[in-house]
């Protein structure tokens, strides 16, 4: 690591992030294929029956990656600090041309909220997906399957709002952010503007 770069995330975090991202897109595309009977999507997956198998198993990969994130982010995401209150009261500075925010730690309130949303929605969509997948052929389980089907689809809709926001925030809205999930490092000065407290803690 060169002297003016700072390590923001580990190699494992990057791997887990892209595992989730790629599986997410496979799941969304096949999900749309099922929901709207998209024949083209079905053939791209080798038919709808195979698409079901792929959707289910990629869901397992997604869930496994999601599980690993708990160790990376949950403890810090659950810590609500005065910095978070300040960040939230100013909407992260996204609704003004000039951001005036107090120095932030490693992860700001917006990032914490994103993580909690992904964890809650991801858990809901994974658990309900397994119930729909492995439903035994019993009529008295119908209400459980129906509820799962409902929650699975509500999570789907919410994911399609949360993740595009995440993508916008990590690219166009904050140029230079994407490299965190590619190389894991960012220039110290870039990080200082966004996570001053953390940069200071790291001894820069």
């Amino acid at each position: 690591m060169s002297n003016n770069m700072i390590k923001k995330v580990s190699g494992l975090e990057i791997l887990v992030h892209w595992t989730m991202a790629i599986s997410f897109f496979i799941l969304v595309i096949s999900g749309f294929g099922f929901m709207f009977h998209m024949e083209g999507v079905g053939s791209a997956f080798g038919g709808f029956e195979q698409m079901k198998t792929i959707h289910n198993w990629v869901g397992v990969v997604f869930a496994a990656a999601l599980f690993l994130t708990i160790f990376h982010y949950l403890p810090v995401a659950l810590k609500f600090t005065s910095d978070d209150a300040a960040w939230l009261s100013k909407a992260g500075g996204y609704l003004s041309k000039k951001a005036q925010l107090p120095p932030q730690d490693e992860i700001n309130a917006g990032q914490k909220l994103l993580y909690i949303a992904v964890l809650v929605l991801g858990t809901a969509i994974s658990v309900t997906g397994v119930i729909i997948w492995l439903r035994p052929d019993m009529a008295n389980l119908n209400s459980a399957v129906l509820l799962s089907f409902l929650i699975h689809n509500i999570s789907f809709v919410l994911f399609l709002i949360v993740i595009p926001v995440h993508i916008y925030m990590a690219t166009l809205a904050n140029p230079g952010t994407l490299r965190i999930m590619i190389s894991g490092t960012v220039p110290v000065e870039w990080a200082r503007k966004r996570h001053a407290k953390w940069v200071q803690k790291m001894g820069y």
């Binding site: 079901k52 052929d137 009529a139 399609l160 709002i161």
Partner: protein
């Protein structure tokens, strides 16, 4: 072609179950080994090899100690079919020109969501995990023939024909309210009941589960609209505020 349907008249049924046999014969469905449950109603339930059956309802009362109702049970070929609504595999469930809800096992992906969505608990799955149910003898009716159950019925308890004509017939015979005339955009099997549907083991107002209706009417469009909404909001935000600009922090290196 007008919509075709079955008219079921339990009062005419003698419980011979010829319809069950004829169905198995035409559709080449194996018999099932069952147990004596103290009733001649047999088999006990629909199965991958039993597309239709007569439900026996015993209603002994002082007035009529032998009251016995015979109700033909099968896929109702709903006008608004819950199974078709929820099915994620295009072409697995489809509507024939005659209005029957038929299926293509090669296209069924075995998810069993149709089981969840059916208001009448009809779809069953075979050993290959493919849907299996009454298709109103789609192969017969497409050739202008009568479904084998109705063809074999000796009393006219099961009649097949133009749906409007059958409804007219039932009304002429004095049945002011025919079960399934309006429910679920009209059932493809309508019933001339003389008593409340509950007596015959049928729901008063059959409906597709609310979760499925909500998903179909709200969540499906929302999945597109949410995505489009975020994209539009992102563009607006980018135009209005642009990328985040943060003022230089004083360096103290």
């Amino acid at each position: 072609m007008g919509r075709m349907s079955l008219l079921v008249s339990p009062e005419l049924c003698i419980g011979c179950r010829g319809c069950q046999t004829a169905c198995k014969e035409w559709n080449q469905l194996e018999g099932e080994k069952t147990e004596n449950r103290g009733t001649t109603e047999n088999p006990p339930d629909l199965s991958p090899n039993t597309f239709n059956k007569i439900r026996y309802v015993e209603l002994p009362s002082e007035k009529n100690p032998m009251r016995l109702l015979f109700v033909s049970q099968r896929c109702m070929h709903c006008g608004d079919a819950g199974c078709m609504k929820i099915c994620p595999a295009p072409g697995a469930l489809f509507r024939t020109d005659e209005g029957a809800v038929a299926y293509d096992k090669d296209k069924c992906i075995g998810c069993r969501l149709c089981v969840t969505s059916c208001p009448f608990n009809v779809p069953r799955y075979d050993a290959q995990n493919k849907i299996s149910k009454c298709h109103l003898c789609a192969d017969r009716i497409s050739q202008g023939l009568t479904p084998s159950c109705a063809k074999t019925c000796p009393t006219g308890a099961l009649r097949y024909g133009d749906r409007d004509e059958l409804l007219g017939l039932a009304k002429k015979a004095g049945y002011s309210k025919v079960y399934g005339e309006k429910d679920l955009e009209g059932l493809g099997a309508v019933y001339a009941f003389t008593d409340s549907p509950k007596i015959y083991g049928m729901s008063d107002s059959p409906a597709i589960p609310e979760a499925v209706v909500f998903w179909n009417n709200v969540l499906k469009p929302l999945s597109y609209l949410g995505l489009a909404g975020v994209a539009a909001a992102a563009v607006l935000h980018y135009v209005a505020f642009g990328p985040k600009k943060i003022e230089e922090v004083k360096k103290d290196e």
